[in-house]
Symmetry: C2
Subunit: 336 residues, 2 copies
Amino acid sequence: MKSKKGLSMKDIAKLSGVSVATVSRVLNNNGRFSEETRKKVMEVVEKFNYQTNLVARSLRTNRSQIIGVIVPDITNEFFAAIVLAIESYCFLKGYSVFICNTNEDEEKETAYFKDLIAKGIDGLIYISGKSDKISKETLLKDIPIIFIDRRPNISSNDIVYIASDNYKGGVLATEALIKRGCRNIMILKDIRNLSTVTQRYLGYRDTLMKYNINLGEEYIVNVKKVDFEEARKAVKESIKKGLTFDSIFACTDWLALGAIAALKEEKIAIPDRVKVIGFDNISISKYSHPAISTISQNPEKLGKTAAKVLLDLIEGKTNKTTNYILPVELVLRETT
Amino acid sequence: MKSKKGLSMKDIAKLSGVSVATVSRVLNNNGRFSEETRKKVMEVVEKFNYQTNLVARSLRTNRSQIIGVIVPDITNEFFAAIVLAIESYCFLKGYSVFICNTNEDEEKETAYFKDLIAKGIDGLIYISGKSDKISKETLLKDIPIIFIDRRPNISSNDIVYIASDNYKGGVLATEALIKRGCRNIMILKDIRNLSTVTQRYLGYRDTLMKYNINLGEEYIVNVKKVDFEEARKAVKESIKKGLTFDSIFACTDWLALGAIAALKEEKIAIPDRVKVIGFDNISISKYSHPAISTISQNPEKLGKTAAKVLLDLIEGKTNKTTNYILPVELVLRETT
């Protein structure tokens, strides 16, 4: 164990005239030593600016009291709220949280995963942008890993997965539109095979089937990036192509916001001619004009549940690996 | 250096029949060794699930290639955008970024600071919620520290500080209101002595003086927490107290949004009877109704500048400690 200045416990022992074991006891404030001894050791320590190295300590006790969180987009309020809930819970329980933002970039995700593991975190909460590509090997680490929101393609016995009931969300959104008379419902969604999006899509598809509504492939509009601009462009293009639609189920609120911008530009009245429903209930959906109807998830509960399960696994209070699906709610505002 | 399984380099050397120095060369892929030697060592390593410990490596090379970011509120889009810019720049340059969210809690801030230092980060970007209490001792760490947005009360020669021109922002906001005929301008601000807020207030105060406008202390409305609800309550209270005001300079967009909610509830027409101007230009200011006039900061540039200066300091490309003040812009929308 060396400090950044290159001073080892052995050096400190030599300089202060006590044993290495005594130095260790003093630095860790653990075991017996006289006040005089403490002073001698600390004088040397302070003189050489020795930093008690928590890393080295964690290598001894096998616990760093730090957990990692991998998050795809910190500027997305939904993810930020999940992270905040994780952080708040863990800190109360004596754990620090290191957050890594991947910006939906697979290469970064891989790098951060390695970094966090290498830094000796006790556990990981993982919101992945490439969840369909996560291998079983990822899980063969010494630490528990909890997946939130996006589920890897691995048999359920091996993982802990926590998410909102995305399928139900898809059903609620689609039914809300159908009940308001809509029949030509566009779905606007992320092109990636993320479990969240797939579930929302399946909810939409099954609900259409239930109501005997048959729509062509052109009603499934994919965007490469989940942002305002991509959604705006995609909806404008559908309008130009002459697609007949009376409503849009946008798989996130940001996509809904972009869709609404496109409709406004084309002077299409909302909700009279086209109704729009989003997903997530981020604050912009409440304050934007018109206020957006949406499916409300509970990011606080998602984050807190993940944190609690993770700490229980770390501390051996449970060894159950199971899934948690949290309820969603329909929030009706001005776009439906 | 021990792995989580308790296997040291010495153990690996013994088991694979080579010297400790050779094990080290193989694990670090550094120096000469035969393919046969590499195989022997790696067989043992893999058998015992030895994780090349980047921490231990960083203790040797004095470089972890990881920087820390302390941020007060990850759910605030302005801070999230700064963090994203830092992360994007650093990752391109081969550095990982560990983000710690303090939720504006001083105790957490202290704890995360210690954790990051203990984990051997190469440098720190620090957005503090208690910047007036940061001592010179904080800066006596081995690593460079860059402050963004909120400036500690330490003489400027000792620190690198990067922020928007908050004073100018206060001037621009106040002048915009005065030019539209306002004379009774309320300022709505965080009660803490954060440098950002103080600068915005001074810009407001000096501009009032310049235009010979004298206002009582009651026009300075402080909130304990920078959020929607606190602002809404504070403005409602001022209305109930019978304060005469024709405009509000809210020191953040979230405060502006809360103020607007209070005005709407009291049926006070915006901007006809009361004009409102915010600060930050977060997306909600653009999409809310009415769209909020505000002062635009450039979080991307703040983050990128901080990251660049930090990496230059880490890599010894500069040793200059200086301040960077970035320009702000007035953005006029529907509330003025």
